[in-house]
């Protein structure tokens, strides 16, 4: 378990670099207080934890198979990235609620929750959790040889705790909430990042499709 925590601590900057493009625009665009942002981060982390635990079960169940580059793997993770991209694009460019202009003042995150019943950060957390980033591959390598499901879950739990520490400063982005013009800019930023993920997702699926 300590190994998992230390691995999380040593690779947490990568997780920060991976999650910050998704989370920062959200926090700035929603313009909530630090307290509410911290709550949103908690929900995001819950989603991410769910993603990690799904991985833990998969790692235990299929072991080394998950680590082998394969067409199916590319397609599955490409699809996860595609969903994340569509969420960000929808959030950024106002596609969830076409009647509202980008500059509308009401929180788009709240509207998403009303419409889909689940907080947006939970989805963002889950989908960023379902990603084969380098720290994750390291953790997978460790758990692929795991003797039991319990061990695998504990390892990923500790790994999650180690990496999550790096995300704790992100809610401080709420300090920008008084600069009104940053809100539409941050929403559009989320949309642009979504476009980038869309290309990455499509690329993974295309390459996966070509290999199969």
């Amino acid at each position: 378990m300590i190994e998992g925590f230390l691995l999380g601590l040593s690779t947490g900057t990568s997780c920060l670099a991976f999650c910050a493009p998704v989370l920062l625009p959200y926090f700035v665009a929603e313009a909530h207080s630090h307290k509410r942002n911290l709550g949103a981060l908690g929900i995001f982390l819950l989603g991410r934890l769910t993603g990690y635990l799904i991985f833990a079960v998969l790692a235990w169940a299929v072991g080394w198979l998950l680590l082998q580059p394969s067409a199916d793997r590319e397609i599955i993770f490409g699809a996860a990235r595609l969903v994340l991209a569509l969420l960000l694009i929808g959030y950024g460019f106002g596609l969830f609620h076409p009647a509202c202009a980008v500059a509308a003042d009401t929180s788009r995150g709240n509207r998403f929750q009303r419409r889909w019943g689940v907080p947006l950060p939970l989805w963002l957390g889950l989908l960023t959790g379902l990603s084969l980033c380098p720290p994750f591959l390291l953790a997978l390598t460790e758990t692929a040889q795991s003797p039991s499901l319990g061990h695998s879950l504990l390892f990923f739990l500790a790994f999650f705790a180690g990496t999550s520490l790096f995300l704790l400063p992100l809610p401080l982005a709420g300090v920008f909430r008084r600069i009104a013009v940053l809100r539409p800019v941050a929403r559009l930023t989320a949309g642009v990042i979504g476009c980038y993920y869309l290309y990455l997702g499509l690329l993974m699926i295309t390459e996966g499709g070509m290999h199969s």
């Binding site: 670099a17 991976f18 910050a20 493009p21 920062l24 625009p25 950024g92 202009a101 980008v102 500059a103 013009v181 539409p184 800019v185 941050a186 929403r187 559009l188 930023t189 949309g191 642009v192 990042i193 980038y196 290309y199 499509l202 690329l203 295309t206 390459e207 070509m210």
Partner: protein, 391 residues
Amino acid sequence: MSVKSPAAARHGARPPVWKSLLKALPFIFLTAFMLLGGGASRDPRQLVPLILTFALISVLFFRMVHTGRTDRYRAVFFILMAFCFVLTFITNLIEVRGSMALTEEDMATGQTPFCHMVIPMTIIPAAFTRTIIFPGSILDGFANIATMFALWIGVTLALGRGFCSWGCFFGGLEDGFSRLRRKPLLRKIGHHWTYLPYAVLGAMVLLSAWTLTPSYCEWLCPFKAVTEFEAVTSTRVLIQTIMFGSLFAGLVVVLPILTRRRTQCGLLCPMGAFQSFSNKINAFDIRIDREKCTDCGQCIRVCPTFSLDANSVAEGKTRLSCTKCGKCVDACPQGAISFHVKGTPVGHKPERARMLFLYPAFLFLVVFGTGMIQGALYRIVLLVTTGSLIQ
């Protein structure tokens, strides 16, 4: 009510020719010194471009001073510089490398010329990793990183976002295309899209910090279509090529023709967005004399970078994204818009403020553009005399 021409509204009658010549002479001498500093070549194929370039610069600056118009003459040089840059750059590439396509080897050996568009994306990774995330050279070779940074800092301090209309060798392409039609076919572009460059800047800075690669160059930069690009060897590069090709066609050629605006600068360019913040610290800005302004909206209609709207006009100033091209100054029928030195009263000696801005601004334009125009003219002379653009 009779409407005076903008220049007449601003200055009354034109100044005497001798007075304008006197004002232009220091600049003409400086240009001559710059062009002839290393001694003139005896090769007529080099000499003809040099003389033509010098004549062009002198005439344009004199006309700018004498007529009181800024954008009309700036645009001639700016557009010419961009097209000449493309011609010179591509022919050089083909001469040296045989193709516009970059290979993995070129990038691994740091032979990619550094471009100012990368600057905003390099700052955060450089702060954390002490590495410039670009496959170029710090000090060696053509367009090395140190030289480009030094030039950029100089222009930024002197002109703020004026860099985009007086220094950027890409902006002239869309400026040129935006002037092809007399009237725009597409007038309405949602105000919120003018925030997009800041969003692209934010996204690219975050993605570059995450991937430690210049994401904008890799994925979006439309100007790769007229400079150099990665050879298509994989699906990833194919997608990237389709993307930057489409962005070039859409934002640099088609939309500028349809809207008469510089749509890449106004709706996408992250470097422009980054540069906008330097307008805060720059000594010059464009101001509107509210006592003279009749709210006719002409300035809003002509602004190529969406830097004027009803709110900013009501406040008597431009938005942060103003590139100080002078188009609104030339277009205002009341002469209510002028270049302005911060800290002085609005409308106070506007011609003096304009001249104070013009000297450094046109100097940078000449510094950036002279070599490109000379180079392109040389290629044209080559074509005429040898039948080929390549030596």
